[in-house]
């Protein structure tokens, strides 16, 4: 397989990176950007992830506007934070009325403009602006998008066509577009955005994966869904390939990777593929970003583990059991193993005789691959499309009791609003949390960005709940109070590496602000205990130590360490963690 070298490949103007969380989209996108900029091309790199890590990588404070990077000539970076974009949008709407309308009225407007739908639309506006702006197109040779993890990326990329259809099909004019009255005027921009995305001469979708089964499966799904939307120009980059082996650990890793590659889904086999070797270092700082695509350096870190004893996952489960937790979340960056750990925790609690419900809010997660249902564990999955259909049916069947056909058609139109999907997902989330009335609910969440948006909408919907009439389900009314009670705890999952730890720290701050309790961290896939002698893996394992020490100090030793294993962790293997 050819090594990924952006200078040797003909690239389109727009490049989108997608893939399961943790496969290295940001690293690969940054390395491509730096590599191209170093060769003299003018480059713009844009992140659309609400939990973006570009600031850590470039050690530069970023904003929604293109910011030059001091250490790299020709490179500008923009960090598109949807919540920030929504705040700016909100301010632009409200500012003209300051002084003209009373404070309480402005507060009411502000509250209405705080829903997750505003966040989604504001982000989408910014995003469309980047791919349709003529002066950006002329200024830069390439514009790279380090997109959010897959489920969210898909939605984001699907939006241009969803919105375009929605706007052109709307017959009663100002339909349920609510927050953005100016949307209609942007119709042309959205149309251009869709055309650019589906034009293979302008746009390439770069599918990033690890040589592992789950990310490969997921990237196949992304590839198919986007091809169906007309995004046909796709390339595959396999990141972190181990070239050879010289001890048991490195051999088992090598074998696992080679097997995953040999069993690669058929659809992916027809796509032009490139590889990037596994590196011993964390991809932060300019030197490492520059060398990702060119060379490795095996620097051994001399630090030693400071903790005298490190708790196990079982200690975490015991603590959750004894403190009587009823709502347990696993949260963290994509690819850190949230689903596996949620399943292991659910299994552990059920073995203590508890009735447990395990669910996921991640559109891309598959609990069934990890665990089977049994008498004490039930499972569910919040699927956006299913929830939307359910919500629509519920409303329409209510409407049909009293309304004429014409009135129902009117309501149906508003139900096609992209904003209704948000509320449908939110309601489903509230319902699943309500199961804590009768059993323990373990919730595997989508990667941080997506989860932050869900929490953000929980907070703003809660304000709306307090003042609206209408029939609000009990589950929605009780949601936030329950999440803030002692019944709820969030388990933070990370890897002993820079990016997952930074992201987890920010997540913890956000949870604190929302008054949602956290105590334990789980550090997954650690090579530290593996006793490897492979030069590259030894270097990699030694680089984990500063992060493990940092986490031990930060959590006051409330953290569990889980060793890397060659096996897929599912079924009975969950008990061994």
């Amino acid at each position: 397989m050819q090594v990924f070298d952006p200078n040797k490949i003909t690239l389109t103007k727009y490049l989108f990176y997608t893939g399961k969380g943790g496969v290295g989209k940001t690293s690969v996108a940054c390395a491509t950007a730096v590599c191209l900029a170093d060769s003299g091309k003018k480059i713009l790199l844009v992140s659309t992830d609400p939990a973006s890590n570009l600031q850590d990588v470039f050690h530069t404070t970023l904003s929604g506007k293109a910011t030059p990077i001091a250490e790299v000539a020709n490179l500008d970076v923009a960090n598109l934070d949807p919540m920030q974009a929504a705040a700016e949008y909100r301010e632009s709407v409200i500012a003209p009325y300051r002084g003209k309308l009373p404070e309480s009225v402005l507060a009411n407007m502000e509250e209405q403009l705080s829903g997750s739908c505003t966040v989604e639309i504001a982000a989408f506006n910014e995003f469309s602006n980047f791919i349709t702006n003529k002066s950006l197109e002329q200024k830069y040779d390439h514009i790279l998008f380090d997109t959010a993890p897959t489920g969210h990326t898909l939605r984001m990329l699907q939006l241009p066509s969803a919105w375009s259809n929605f706007i052109s099909e709307s017959t009663h004019g100002a339909s349920c577009l609510g927050q953005l009255s100016g949307l209609e005027s942007k119709k042309e921009m959205y149309k251009t955005a869709v055309e650019t995305l589906t034009d293979g001469a302008q746009t390439t979708l770069i599918l990033v994966t690890r040589p592992e089964t789950t990310p490969l499966k997921e990237i196949e799904r992304a590839s198919r869904e986007l091809a169906e939307l007309g995004v046909l120009n796709q390339s595959l980059v396999i990141n972190g390939v181990l070239a050879d082996y010289d001890d048991t650990i490195s051999k088992s890793l090598y074998d696992k990777q080679q097997k995953a590659l040999a069993d690669m889904p058929k659809l992916l086999q027809s796509i032009k593929a490139y590889m990037i070797p596994l590196r011993a270092y964390n991809i932060t700082g300019m030197e490492n970003v520059r060398s990702l695509l060119t060379k490795d350096n095996y620097v051994i870190c001399g630090e030693t583990i400071k903790a005298e004893s490190i708790p196990h996952l079982q200690d975490v489960i015991d603590d959750l059991y004894h403190s009587g937790k009823k709502v347990i979340f696993t949260m963290g960056k994509g690819g850190v193993g949230k689903t596996t750990l949620a399943a292991a925790i659910a299994l552990g609690l059920s073995e203590k005789g508890q009735k447990v419900h395990l669910t996921t809010t991640d559109p891309a997660a598959h609990l069934k691959f990890v665990l089977d249902e049994n008498s004490s564990i039930t499972m569910s999955h919040i699927d956006e499309h299913v929830e939307l259909a359910r919500y629509q049916n519920e409303i329409l069947s209510k409407a049909q009791e009293t309304m004429s056909e014409e009135d129902i058609a009117y309501i149906e139109e508003d139900l096609r609003s992209p904003c209704t999907q948000e509320i449908a997902v939110f309601r489903a989330f509230a319902e699943v949390v309500e199961r804590a009335e009768n059993e323990i609910v373990v919730i595997d969440t989508a990667p941080t960005g997506h989860t932050l948006l869900l929490l953000d909408s929980t907070l703003s919907y809660h304000k709306e709940v307090q003042r609206t009439q209408g029939d609000i389900p009990d589950s929605v009314r009780k949601l936030l109070p329950r999440l803030r009670s002692t019944e709820t705890e969030v388990i933070i999952v990370a890897l002993p590496e820079a990016t997952p730890v930074y992201e987890a720290l920010r997540l913890e701050e956000d949870l604190k602000r929302a008054n949602i309790a956290t105590k334990w961290w789980i550090v997954n896939s650690s090579l530290y205990h593996s006793k490897t002698t492979n030069r590259m893996l030894v270097a990699k394992a030694s680089n984990e130590i500063p992060w493990i020490n940092k986490i031990a100090k930060h959590t006051n030793s409330n953290f569990a360490l889980i060793a890397w294993t060659a096996d897929d962790i599912k079924g009975d293997k969950l008990r061994e963690l």
Partner: protein
């Protein structure tokens, strides 16, 4: 026929369907007004999130919200005076306040001509 305007608190849209709960009153008023519109009777709705300027320009409603804030919205105006506060007009009130035949609320001219698709009532 009188001119009616309804001033509402900030909402995601006229039916409130993408808000946190479904308010049957909003569904009723949205669909009834839609039917009235098809019969040539326009009732203007202004909600704080989509049409805040109306709350500045209309002297009557501006005075009202400066005194009472948003708690007492919606407010219904006939010509230049407030006739209902804190709720939407019932179907009967719509008929009497607007001075239109009751049939305007239940059937449209278009429907009479055989269920045609055009919103302005002309057949396509």
């Amino acid at each position: 026929m009188k001119k009616m305007q309804i001033f509402e608190p900030a909402m995601c849209c006229d039916t409130g369907l993408c808000g946190v709960s479904v308010d049957p009153e909003l569904l009723r008023i949205s669909t009834v007004l839609n039917t009235l519109k098809k019969n040539g009777v326009a009732v203007d709705r202004f909600n704080l999130s989509s049409a805040p300027m109306a709350f500045v320009n209309n002297k009557v409603i501006n005075t009202f919200i400066n005194e009472k804030g948003v708690e007492d919205l919606p407010a219904v105006l006939i010509d230049e005076s407030i006739v209902i506060i804190g709720r939407y007009p019932t179907n009967e009130e719509l008929v009497s306040l607007l001075e239109v035949p009751a049939s305007y609320l239940t059937e449209t001219k278009a429907a009479k001509q055989g269920g045609c698709c055009c919103s302005d009532g002309n057949c396509c």
